[in-house]
Structures are given as C-alpha cells and as structure tokens.
C-alpha cells in the first residue's frame, strides 16, 4: 500500500512547496536534471508524405494562424493503386456483421473491452458509482506485478508498457512487454492463467520492448462445448499474432497456424526488420483489423502502409488496404497504422489514423501525390474500400504521424445533430469532421505555410496546410515559443543562443541543414499522443491531454552525418534515413542542466464544449519530475497516455512524469484525487463494473519518451465496500 508516513499530505507544506516554484531552480542546480528524458516518442513507423508540391517561391512567413484561407480539400479518395485489395472473402462473417445491432454511440451498458474502451474510442463509461463527490474516497483494491520489466541496464532492452487493461468475459486481460498474456480476476487480481509466447526479447524494430495490450473477440452465437468461442489476441515484436481461448489460455488451433499468425509473411519489401505487432488488432465484428510498426527513421524505403483485415476465428486474410501507390512504394513506404483504430459498425465504417511516409524528414523521393498519407481515412469495413479520407499534413516532412484513433461522437452544433469524429494530432490540432462524409463541422482552412530555405536538395514543399478554425489549437504554434527566463539564466544564456540559431516561421517550418536546424513546436513528442480524445456524450464534452514540447530538427548531408552521429534514443537523437541524401537529428530544446528552454506549462488537460468548439477549461496536468524532485504542479507535465471519463462526472488519467494517477472533475477540471503508481501510466485507464462494484484500473508501465522509469504494475481502485 502506498500510504506511508512520508506521503501523507500536509496541505500547508504543499502550498509552500507550490509557492517555491522559482526556488526550484536551486534544486535543479543541485540535482541537474533533464526535465524531459532524452527520448521522444517513438512509436513507430512514421512516414512521409507526398505531395502536391510545388516548390515555392516566396517563402511566407507563416504565421500559421493568419487566415488567408482557401477552402480545404476534402478528398474523397479512390487512390489509384493505393486502396484496398480484396484478397478473399470470409464467407458468412460479412452477413453476420451486417445483421449485428450497431454499437450505440451513447452506451447503454459499460464496455471496456479494447484499447480505447469502446470501438468508438470515446473512453467513456456510463458507470456512476464513483462520482466527483466521492472519488476522494477511492482506495486501492488490488495490484498485480507481472514481473516482465527491464530498465535496459542488462542484456534485455528497456520495457515500455502502454497497455490498457481489457475487461471482458468477467476477466481482466493484459499483455506484457515480454509478450506474455495474462488473465486476472477483476475483483481480486488473482491470476486465472497466463501464456508465454516465448517471443524474442530483442528490440528488432523499436529501441525498447513495447506492448499495448490485447484485444478481445467473442462469437455472437457461441457453439456450446467448442473452444475459442471467445478469443484474446496479442502481437509481438517479431511479427507473430497469437490467438488464445479467453477461458483457458490455450492456443486456438483453428486460427492461422495452430493459433499463431506470421504477419511478416506480408513483408515483401526487405528483410532488415519484421512487421512488429505492438498494437493489438482492432476487433470490428468478426474482423481483426491489423496494422504494424517498423523502423522508418532508419530506412528510406519501408513496407507499404497496410491494414490487414483478418477473419477473427481463422486468421484468414480478407482484404488489405495500402495507403501508398505501387509506384511510390518503390522508393518510399510506411504510411502505416501503428496505433488503434475506431469504427462505426452501424454505418459500416472503419477509421484509420494513417502515419507519414518514409523517410520521415526528407521527401525528395516522394514528390507525387499521396493523399492517404498522414490522414484520417474511412474504409468500408467489409471490403476495405476507401469511403473518404482527409489528409492532415500535405507532404509530411515532420513525422506528424496521425497517432491516435479518431473519437466518434454525435454532437449538436447550432441545433443540428451531426455524426462527427475528432482527430487529435501531434501538432496539437483537433480536426472535427462529419464521420460519414469527411466534411468539415467547423471550417478547416488551407493556409500558406513556410517554404524551404533552399538548403535541402530535391525537396519540395506543400504550399498550404490544413488548419482547423475550431477548436482552437491546443498550443499556440503561430510564433516561436517564449524562452523560459529561469532556464535561460541557469544556462547562462544558452537557451537564447539556441533560439537565435533555430529557424522558425510558424507551424510547418520545414527541416533545414542550417544552424541548429528548424524549431518544431511540437514534433514527434506531441501535442497529443495515442491516448487520444475522450468524450462524455451526455454533456458533449471532449477531454484531451496535450504536451507542450519544443524540439528542433536538423538535416545533415551524408558526410556531415557520419561525423555528427552520436546515437539515438527512443525517438530522439540521430537517425540515418538510409537511402536518402540526408541523415537527421531531432532534439528537445533544453539547457545544459536539462531544463526546458520554453515556458511552462509543459502539459495540460483540456475540456472542450463540442456544441461550440470552445474550451470549457484547461488545467496543467501532473507534475514534472526528475531525479525524484517534483516540480510545482502549476508547471504541469508532458504526458503520454490518455484519459477516461465517466457518467459520474470524473476524468481519470495517469500519463504524467510524476507517475501519479489522478481524478479530475469533468465539470470544473479541479483535481479531486491522486495516488502514486510505480511508473507513469502511459495508456488510457479502464473503467468496469464487476459484481455490482465500479472499478478503475491502470497499467503503470512507463515510457522512456517521458522519463527513464519502468513499471510492471496493474493497479485497481474502487470505493470502500459498505
């Protein structure tokens, strides 16, 4: 139990601590600390774009907010050779899907059986036993340690565990970064069974061992006495997808090759690395929608961005979707989907957050149109055909992967009910469109953006990029962020000098070889990460956590790169972009002590009224921490992970550097409860009901993007039993 003498809150002292914000610099002096770990988000494959690029003429100092807008092009896409290929049809399952009732967007019963809780990715629970009034009484009911943990100091790479506990079949299912699948009793945490895939513990595609949990399927009409009428799935770094009977933990012999599908059989590009399945498949009816992750920072060419639709019981391939054309694949790749997806079964649509093409920071080899890259793309669930697509970054040369499932919601705007979706992005934009057509809910404008400085050979630049008019950007990227005076003073003017040596003309300032490079605010660290947007359908309030992180990217020609390369971390440091004429370096802007060069807050929790698109409230979330020292909470923390929201008017979230789990009032944003976890909880929590009691569960696994702290803890809370 974490309740310990030293942890007992003493409000007066806490207040004093908060007021001693400035003095904290002393602590930083005493205990130099990079506020942020050297690592940045790395999940995966990122890509690049294509584009309609004409190289440009006048470089517009793009104050990105200035609206000279042209109207946005909503592309209904049928992309030539990109698109879907119907490989086979899994006979009756299509018909079964069509007959199934739709999953209501305002749920009638609590469901938390997937990475984002529900297929609409709302992360919403209608449970209301825990309320804003009583959440302060929450107590830890049980915790479970998997033992699958590594800090990277030995032979095994560090673990990054971003799993959401899945509640289904009266069981909690989790996958681990050592690629074991474990079933737990939801009321006690007692282990029911576990299965070891015996997968390689090598960092084949990522710098660390990653896992984002499991997914769950059950037959609508189960056959009595037959195994595998309920199945849990988990993928591995070495491209294997396992299917286990949810009751027994035994392999489902009827699925692929005795329960194991070799996903790498579809890697037709090169053998340097496998199609890692770190994100479990998205289960849509009787289909498994499967993406993959790779190494697109390292290589110019990568396998095509592809979704595989599989039969949930047999693993048979039904159709594939490819985001890039066959011609483009010869020199580029990725534009993959490495995170979870969402779906509207009633309307037969699957929504893909598509990442950028490779190489990530140079697009001279992919100057043609690639309208499905860095997009939200809606596919027909049964055929994989593109229904509509909206590209959020044209000719992406910033690694702005769309990294979270769009959140589906019915909203009322100006008295009209709209079937909408919200797509959060790394840039801190929230794009809101009609989920049936892809059309704007609030205008999304094409605005001129900065063009190159002439130093990057072969590059072309998109003349405009889409900017949402509402909701307002979660962070102000229109001008260079202000320098944090404290960090600059402690660094002896280091931040000012760095700022002077960074090029920035607003959002979408392209990479350069000059000086220290181009400032990006933010880059791959987000903005918003894979936790995405939560939504309360009753009040029509969207909840999202965002990070404020300044990074800078520089391109090096081959010769200079070989000299400069000093290694890389989790999405930071140097990456070769083999095959491209430039290697790249991406860093977080910090002084020599590791203090951020830009002003706090470093992360916020934001509530948006979706009737109007206006911000209801925004609060710094969590506390930054380094070497154990907590910074004042008013400075906030960068976040990885996401929220869950309940009908009790409570928002639950971990995600912050200080590894605390918190509850906030949905109405006001006031912090109502907190507890200490073993490591940052870098996925969404789950909320479930078991035997009449409401629980909230977190996985505290840590992520080196945030800081070098790892965990193997599953921790579950509930109100005291009467």
């Amino acid at each position: 139990m974490p309740t310990s003498l030293p942890q007992m809150p003493v409000p007066a002292l806490k207040l004093t601590a908060q007021r001693l914000g400035t003095a904290t610099a002393l602590a930083l002096l005493l205990a130099p600390v990079p506020l942020f770990a050297q690592d940045q988000p790395a999940d995966a494959s990122q890509t690049s774009g294509q584009s309609d690029a004409q190289s440009s003429s006048d470089s517009l100092s793009s104050d990105s907010q200035s609206p000279d807008s042209q109207s946005s092009d909503s592309q209904s896409s049928d992309s030539q050779s990109s698109g879907s290929q119907n490989v086979s049809v899994a006979g009756s399952s299509d018909q079964e899907n069509a007959n199934r009732p739709p999953i209501p967007l305002v749920p009638e019963k609590p469901t938390w059986d997937s990475f984002h809780g529900q297929l609409n990715a709302q992360k919403y629970s209608p449970l209301d036993q825990i309320t804003a009034d009583n959440v302060g009484e929450l107590e830890k009911v049980w915790e479970y340690h998997t033992g699958d943990i590594s800090d990277g100091s030995g032979d095994i790479p560090a673990t990054v565990w971003s799993a959401t506990p899945v509640f289904a079949n009266d069981t909690i299912y989790i996958g681990t970064p050592f690629y074991r699948l474990i079933a737990l009793d939801p009321g006690t945490g007692e282990e029911k069974w576990s299965f070891d895939t015996k997968s390689s513990r090598e960092a084949l595609t990522q710098p660390v061992l990653k896992n984002r949990g499991v997914s769950y399927w059950e037959a609508e009409n189960p056959v009595a006495g037959e195994p595998c009428q309920k199945i849990v799935y988990m993928g591995t770094m070495d491209a294997q997808l396992f299917a286990l009977d949810a009751d027994t933990g035994e392999l489902c012999k009827g699925f692929a090759d005795n329960g194991v599908l070799n996903v790498n059989q579809w890697n037709d590009t090169h053998a340097e690395w496998p199609l890692s399945v770190l994100q479990p498949p998205t289960v849509v009816g009787d289909h498994l929608m499967l993406g993959w992750a790779g190494m697109d920072w390292a290589y110019e060419q990568a396998p095509p961005g592809t979704i595989f639709s599989l039969d949930a019981q047999t693993g048979d391939l039904e159709w594939t979707f490819q985001a890039l054309s066959d011609e483009m694949r010869e020199k580029s790749g990725t534009a993959n989907v490495w995170t979870h997806m969402s779906a509207d079964r009633e309307n037969g649509l699957l929504y893909l957050p598509v990442s950028s093409p490779s190489p990530n920071y140079w697009g001279g080899n992919r100057t043609e149109e690639a309208p499905l890259a860095t997009s939200t793309t809606a596919l027909d669930i049964e055929t994989g055909e593109v229904v509509w697509s909206r590209q959020w970054v044209h000719h992406d040369i910033w690694d702005y992967d769309i990294n979270s499932a769009p959140t589906l919601m019915d909203i009322t705007v100006d008295g009209e009910q709209i079937p909408a979706l919200v797509q959060a992005t790394k840039q801190g934009f929230l794009f809101v469109v009609n989920r049936l057509t892809g059309e704007d809910v609030w205008p999304i404008e094409e605005r001129p953006v900065p063009q190159g400085d002439g130093t990057v050979e072969g590059e072309v630049y998109a003349p405009t990029q889409p900017f949402p008019t509402k909701p307002a950007p979660l962070l102000d990227q229109s001008e260079k962020p202000k320098i944090w005076g404290l960090a600059d003073a402690v660094g002896g003017g280091q931040c000012s000098r760095l700022w002077d040596d960074l090029w920035y003309e607003g959002m979408y300032t392209p990479p350069t070889t000059k000086g220290e490079g181009a400032l990006t605010y933010p880059d791959s660290s987000g903005g918003v990460q894979w936790g995405g947007v939560a939504f309360d359908p009753e009040s029509q309030t969207a909840i999202v956590n965002t990070s404020h992180i300044v990074q800078y990217v520089k391109l090096y020609n081959r010769e200079d790169y070989e000299e400069a390369d000093s290694g890389s971390g989790n999405e930071s440091g140097f990456a070769p972009q083999k095959g491209a004429p430039y290697g790249m370096r991406l860093k977080v802007a910090m002084n020599w002590l590791g203090m951020p060069c830009w002003e706090p807050p470093f992360g916020e929790l934001v509530a948006i009224d979706m009737h109007t698109g206006d911000v209801k409230w925004r609060k710094p979330v969590g506390a930054s921490q380094q070497y154990g020292f907590f910074m004042p909470e008013r400075w906030g923390s960068p976040t990885i992970g996401g929220p869950a929201v309940t009908a009790g008017g409570v928002v639950f979230i971990g995600a912050s550097m200080d590894a605390k789990l918190r509850a906030y009032s949905l109405e006001t944003g006031e912090e109502l409860w907190e507890d200490q976890a073993q490591a940052p909880a870098v996925a969404n929590p789950s909320v479930y009901e078991y035997k009449g009691r409401q629980y909230v569960a977190f996985v505290a696994g840590g992520n080196t993007i945030l800081k070098d702290q790892v965990g193997d803890q599953v921790v579950v809370y509930a109100l005291p039993e009467e």
Binding site: P6, A31, G628, F630, Q678
Partner: protein, 121 residues
Amino acid sequence: MSQSRSFRAGIIVLLVASLAGLAVSLYAYFTPLTGVDGTLGALVVILTSIALVIMTLVLAPLSCRSGRVALRVLILLDLVGTGFAGLLLHQWWLTAAMVVGLIGLLLDMASPAASKSPAHS
C-alpha cells in the same frame, strides 16, 4: 532551566530530528510507491541526513568556539537544504523533521553555555 540543560536540550532536539529525517529518507528511498523510491534525490537526502547526524554528534562535545560556529553554519545549510529537498520530494515529514532540527539548533545557539565549554565537561 539551567544553561547546561538548555544546551543539552538543543543538541538532543537536533539529534532526534536528524535521526527522524534519516529514517524518513531511508523509508522514502527503499519503500516502493513512495514516488521517489530508488531516486537520486532520495539518496541525496539520506546522505545529507547522515551528515546531519554526524555533525550533531561532533558539535555536542566540541569546545573550540570557531569550530562550533563553523559547524553550526554547516548544520544550518544542511537543515535548510534537506528541508527544501523534502518539499521537492514531497516528503513532508522530512521537511517537518528539519524544521524541528532548526529549532534545536536555535536552542543550542541561544544557550549562553553554547559559547562556552560543553555542558558535560
């Protein structure tokens, strides 16, 4: 209160506070889920608490006036630094212990005997 008792009380309060601070620091470092377990910050306050205990024990019998003044300055810095670190580590009881230690130090400094020979001599 006699001068010797006042002097002794200050030292005793300081020593007890130092030992309490050490106990809290050890707890914070070694106990899971304190939020700072295994961190450099918690290790640093263990070391500064140990230093505080040692300096207090050295101070008690010290008869050299300049030595006592120097040691008190070091103890004061240690108390303030450890107390502040306690705030940043959210180890409120560590900070409380340092406040008590500060009171002990002030008692010791306020004692006329403090500038003379040690009470037990």
